[in-house]
C-alpha cells in the first residue's frame, strides 16, 4: 500500500508511481494497467464482469482502482445483458470484462443481441498467452474468430504497444455511427508486459469515418413529399433512441408542426409520448389495428431510425403498397435492404431531424390540411375497433390486466420507471400496454429475441439509476434462463422487481402451436416449475404471489414498496393469446383480433414457413 492506502497496481497508485514518462511524453504502464487507465480516460464508471485465469492481471489492476465499480455477475451472458441495460438506459457504452474460453463463448449471445439492437458495448476478453495461441491450451478459444460475426469490430491485441490505441479505437467504434458491440481480446502475457500508454485524443482511425451529416438535397425532397402528403405516417424506431434525447425532442416537434400520426417499432418506444393523441401505438406483428392499417394505407411513410424488420413489414409483397417512402438511417446498408425506398437519408437522426425542421419552417411548408383531416377521420374509425381490448375475468388474472394494473400503480413515478422484458407474449403485452413518455425507459431484446435478457438488463439499469423503479416484465420460462443474476442483485442491493407473468407455458410458442400446428402443444408446457416465492427467499429476496385479480393491486404495491429485489409470481390465465396479430404471410390489413379467435385462423402454407 502507498501512503494514500492504495494497493500497488491500483488505478490511483499507478497514476502516481508506475506512470514513468517515456521519451515521447507517453507514460509507461503494464497492459493490465492500461486497460484500467483507458476505461477511466473514457469516463467508465461501471463494468460488469467475471474473473478467470486469463484476466487475473486486469482484475489485479482493478483490485483497488478508484472510480470504477465492478459488478460481479453469476454468468457472462448476464454481464453482457446487464451492460446492454446500462447502455440503453443511459446512452453511455456498457463495458464487460470476462475471461478466455468459456468466459468469451458465454458472452456470445449478448454480443449478438447488442449487434442486432445497435447497443454500444466494449467487451474485454482475456486470452491465453500469445505463445500458447493455437495449441488448444486450457480455456483457449478463437475468440476473435467466434465473435467476428456478432460484433461491429473486434481485435486480438498481440503487442502491448498497440493496446491503448486499440482500446480507445474500440470505444470510438462502439459508440459512433451505428452503435454496436466490440470485442478486444487481450492475451495474458500482453497484460503483464509494459508499454507506452497513449491518451484517447491522440487516436484517429484510418478507415472508420461514419457519415452523420445529411445530404440537404434529400432533406428537401423529404419535406416536399411530406408537404404534399394526403395520408402521411411517421414510422420511427430505435435509431431515434440511439441518437440521444435531443432526437426525441426534435421528433416531437416535427410531429407537432406537421400534425401527422406516428407509430413506432418495438425498439423505438418512448421516443414519442404514448399519452399524445397523435400516437397510434406499436406497429407490426402485434401492433395496434390503427397503426397497421395506417401503415398499409398511407401514401407517404416517413421511416426514421427504423429498418423495415420482418416483424414490422409482414409480407413484403403486400407491405404498404401505395406509399412513397422516406428512410432515415445512419447505416447506409439499411437503405433498400428489405423495402425499396424513394428518398433515402443517410445521417444521424438528430442532425437530420434538425435540418427537416429547419427547412420545414424556413420554407414555410404547409400540410394538406383537408386531406389530413380526412386521414385522421379514417384513423379514428380504426381506433374505434379498440384492438387492445380483452375479455377480463373475475376469477383469473388476465396478463393484460396485470400489466395495466402495473402501469396504473407506477405511473405516478413518471419517468422514474424503467421497464425491461424477456421475450415472448409478456413482452408484446408490455409493449402494447405499458405507456412510455420518455426515451431510454424501455429495454427489450428486439432483433435477436433473447429469452433471459430482461433480468440481467434490469441489474444494469438499476446500477445506473440507483433510486429508480426498475421492473422486469417477465415470463416464467424466459426468466429461468438467467435467474442466477438475482444473486447479483442481492449482492449489490439492487431492488429490481421481477414481475413474472406465469402461465406455465412458453406462451408465444403455445400460441403459434395453437394457430399453426393444430393445437399440438409439443414441449411448450413446463410440467415442473420452481416455487418462485421460495426461490426468492433462497436468494435473499422478497417473494410474492398473486393468483386472484382481487389481490393483485395490494401485491403490486407491496412489490413496489419493498426495498429488496422481488420475484413476483403472477399466476395468469394460461390460455390467453396475444392479439392483435398479423398472421405469418399476411398483410397489415389482415389482422386477427381477440374477438375473432373463435372463427379459426387461416395461415397459408407459405406463411407457416416464416418464423
Amino acid at each position: 500500500m502507498d501512503k494514500d492506502g492504495n494497493a500497488p497496481g491500483s488505478g490511483a497508485a499507478l497514476e502516481k508511481y508506475s506512470g514513468l514518462p517515456t521519451r515521447d511524453g507517453a507514460i509507461e504502464l503494464s497492459g493490465a494497467e492500461m486497460v484500467i487507465r483507458a476505461l477511466k480516460d473514457q469516463g467508465v464508471k461501471h463494468i460488469f464482469g467475471y474473473p478467470g485465469g486469463a484476466v487475473l492481471p486486469i482484475y489485479d489492476a482493478l483490485f483497488a482502482a478508484e472510480g470504477i465499480t465492478h459488478v460481479l455477475v453469476r454468468h457472462e451472458q448476464g454481464a453482457v445483458h446487464a451492460a446492454e441495460g446500462y447502455a440503453r438506459s443511459t446512452g453511455k457504452p456498457g463495458v464487460v470484462l470476462v475471461t478466455s474460453g468459456p468466459g468469451a463463448t458465454n458472452a456470445v449471445t449478448g454480443l449478438t443481441d447488442a449487434l442486432m439492437d445497435s447497443i454500444p458495448l466494449i467487451v474485454l476478453t482475456g486470452q491465453v498467452a500469445t505463445h500458447l495461441i493455437g495449441t488448444d491450451a486450457f480455456q483457449e478459444a478463437d475468440t476473435v474468430g467466434i465473435t467476428r460475426a456478432c460484433t461491429k469490430h473486434n481485435w486480438l491485441v498481440k503487442d502491448v504497444n498497440d493496446l491503448s490505441r486499440t482500446l480507445h479505437e474500440a470505444f470510438q467504434i462502439a459508440t459512433t455511427g451505428r452503435p454496436g458491440p466490440v470485442v478486444v481480446d487481450i492475451p495474458k502475457d500482453v497484460q503483464f508486459k509494459k508499454g507506452p500508454y497513449v491518451m484517447p485524443d491522440a487516436i484517429r482511425h484510418r478507415t472508420y469515418k461514419p457519415k452523420t451529416d445529411p445530404d440537404l438535397g434529400t432533406i428537401v425532397k423529404a419535406i416536399d413529399l411530406m408537404a404534399n402528403a394526403k395520408r402521411p405516417l411517421f414510422y420511427t424506431g430505435g435509431g431515434i433512441i440511439n441518437s440521444g434525447p435531443e432526437a426525441s425532442r426534435l421528433l416531437r416537434e416535427l410531429v407537432k408542426v406537421t400534425g401527422f400520426p406516428i407509430t413506432s417499432t418495438l425498439m423505438g418506444l418512448g421516443a414519442f409520448p404514448a399519452s399524445d393523441p397523435q400516437w397510434l401505438g406499436l406497429v407490426g406483428m402485434h401492433g395496434t389495428y390503427e397503426s397497421n392499417h395506417a401503415m398499409h394505407d398511407c401514401d407517404v411513410m416517413i421511416a426514421l431510425g427504423s429498418r423495415f424488420d420482418d416483424r414490422v413489414t409482414g409480407n413484403i409483397a403486400k407491405f404498404s403498397p401505395d406509399s412513397k417512402k422516406i428512410h432515415l438511417d445512419i447505416d447506409a446498408a439499411q437503405i433498400n435492404k428489405n423495402v425499396h425506398v424513394d428518398v433515402p437519408i443517410v445521417a444521424d437522426a438528430t442532425k437530420a431531424l434538425k435540418e427537416m425542421l429547419h427547412f420545414w419552417k424556413t420554407q414555410k411548408r404547409k400540410v394538406d390540411a383537408a386531406a389530413l383531416k380526412e386521414w385522421w377521420k379514417q384513423i379514428d374509425h380504426w381506433r374505434e375497433r379498440k384492438s387492445l381490448d380483452f375479455r377480463n375475468s373475475q376469477s383469473l388474472i388476465k396478463p393484460q390486466y396485470a400489466i395495466d394494473r402495473l402501469y396504473e400503480l407506477t405511473k405516478h413515478r413518471g419517468n422514474d420507471v424503467y421497464i425491461t422484458t424477456e421475450v415472448g407474449q409478456h413482452q408484446m403485452w408490455a409493449a402494447q400496454r405499458f405507456r412510455f413518455e420518455a426515451p431510454n425507459r424501455w429495454m427489450t431484446s428486439g432483433g435477436l429475441g433473447t429469452m433471459g435478457y430482461g433480468l440481467p438488463a434490469a441489474v444494469g439499469v438499476q446500477m445506473a439509476h440507483p433510486g429508480a423503479l426498475v421492473i422486469d416484465i417477465a415470463g416464467e420460462a424466459s426468466v429461468q434462463m438467467t435467474m442466477q443474476e438475482m444473486s447479483t442483485a442481492v449482492q449489490y442491493d439492487l431492488p429490481i422487481k421481477i414481475f413474472i407473468l406465469n402461465n406455465e407455458y412458453m406462451g408465444m410458442v403455445r400460441q403459434w402451436q395453437q394457430l399453426l400446428h393444430g393445437g399440438r402443444y409439443s414441449h411448450s408446457y413446463s410440467e415442473a416449475l420452481p416455487d418462485f416465492v421460495k426461490l426468492a427467499e433462497a436468494y435473499g429476496c422478497l417473494g410474492l404471489r398473486a393468483s386472484n385479480p382481487n389481490e393483485l393491486d395490494a401485491m403490486i404495491l407491496e412489490m413496489i414498496n419493498s426495498p429488496k429485489p422481488v420475484l413476483f409470481d403472477c399466476r395468469v390465465d394460461p390460455k390467453e393469446n396475444c392479439y392483435p396479430m398479423i398472421p405469418s404471410g399476411a398483410a397489415h390489413n389482415e389482422m386477427i383480433l381477440c374477438d375473432a379467435e373463435e372463427e379459426g385462423t387461416k395461415v397459408s402454407d407459405e406463411g407457416k414457413m416464416l418464423v
Binding site: 467476428r148 478507415t207 447506409a332 446498408a333 433498400n336 435492404k337
Partner: protein, 174 residues
C-alpha cells in the same frame, strides 16, 4: 456456377474491388460477410498492394440481383477495415484479367495440337516433359474458360486459376 446463375434474367455478374487495411483476419471478415448473408463468391483474389500503407486489394466476382449487388457494396462499406469499395461492372469500363496454369499430358498428334492451340491463345509454355506441357495463359476469364474447354479432349489433367484482377482504363485510380 455462373452458367446456372445467368439463366435467370435478373441475376447479374459483378466484379467488385475492396481496398482494405492489411490486418489480421480482414479476409475472414470479407468472406464471412458473403457466407453469413448468403451472397455468392465466384472468384476472389487478394494481395497486399501497398507495403508502406499496409493495404490489400480484394477483387471479388459475385452474382446476384441488382438489389443484392447494392446490398453487397453497402455491407462491404460497413466493415471497419475497409477503405474503399468499387464496382467495376457498374462504373466506367475497366480491364479484367486472370491468369491460369494449365497442365496437359499426351503424345503424338494430341500433343502437337495442344501446343498449336497454346500458340493461338498466346500461352507461354513454362514447363515441358516428353509427355506433358504446363501452359501459362492470361486474359479475360471467358478466354481462359475457352482454352480450358479446348484442352479437355487433348489430355487436360490440372488447372490452377488466380481469379480476377481488375483496374480502370484511363488515368483515374480506384
Amino acid at each position: 456456377m455462373s452458367s446456372a446463375a445467368t439463366k435467370l434474367p435478373n441475376i447479374e455478374r459483378h466484379t467488385i474491388a475492396v481496398l482494405v487495411d492489411n490486418e489480421a483476419g480482414v479476409l475472414a471478415r470479407v468472406v464471412g460477410l458473403f457466407s453469413g448473408r448468403g451472397y455468392n463468391i465466384e472468384s476472389l483474389t487478394v494481395a497486399e498492394v501497398d507495403h508502406v500503407a499496409r493495404t490489400s486489394r480484394v477483387t471479388i466476382v459475385t452474382s446476384g440481383t441488382p438489389a443484392v449487388i447494392e446490398q453487397i457494396e453497402a455491407q462491404l462499406r460497413r466493415l471497419v477495415a475497409v477503405h474503399r469499395v468499387h464496382n467495376w461492372t457498374t462504373s466506367a469500363p475497366g480491364i479484367e484479367r486472370e491468369m491460369a496454369l494449365v497442365k496437359v499430358t499426351g503424345t503424338g498428334e494430341k500433343r502437337v495440337e495442344a501446343m498449336r492451340m497454346g500458340e493461338i491463345f498466346r500461352c507461354h509454355i513454362v514447363d515441358t516433359t516428353h509427355t506433358s506441357f504446363v501452359f501459362e495463359i492470361t486474359g479475360a476469364p471467358s478466354k481462359i474458360d475457352q482454352f480450358v474447354d479446348l484442352m479437355r479432349p487433348l489430355g487436360l489433367v490440372d488447372v490452377s486459376r488466380t481469379g480476377v484482377a481488375a483496374i480502370a482504363r484511363g488515368p483515374e485510380a480506384m
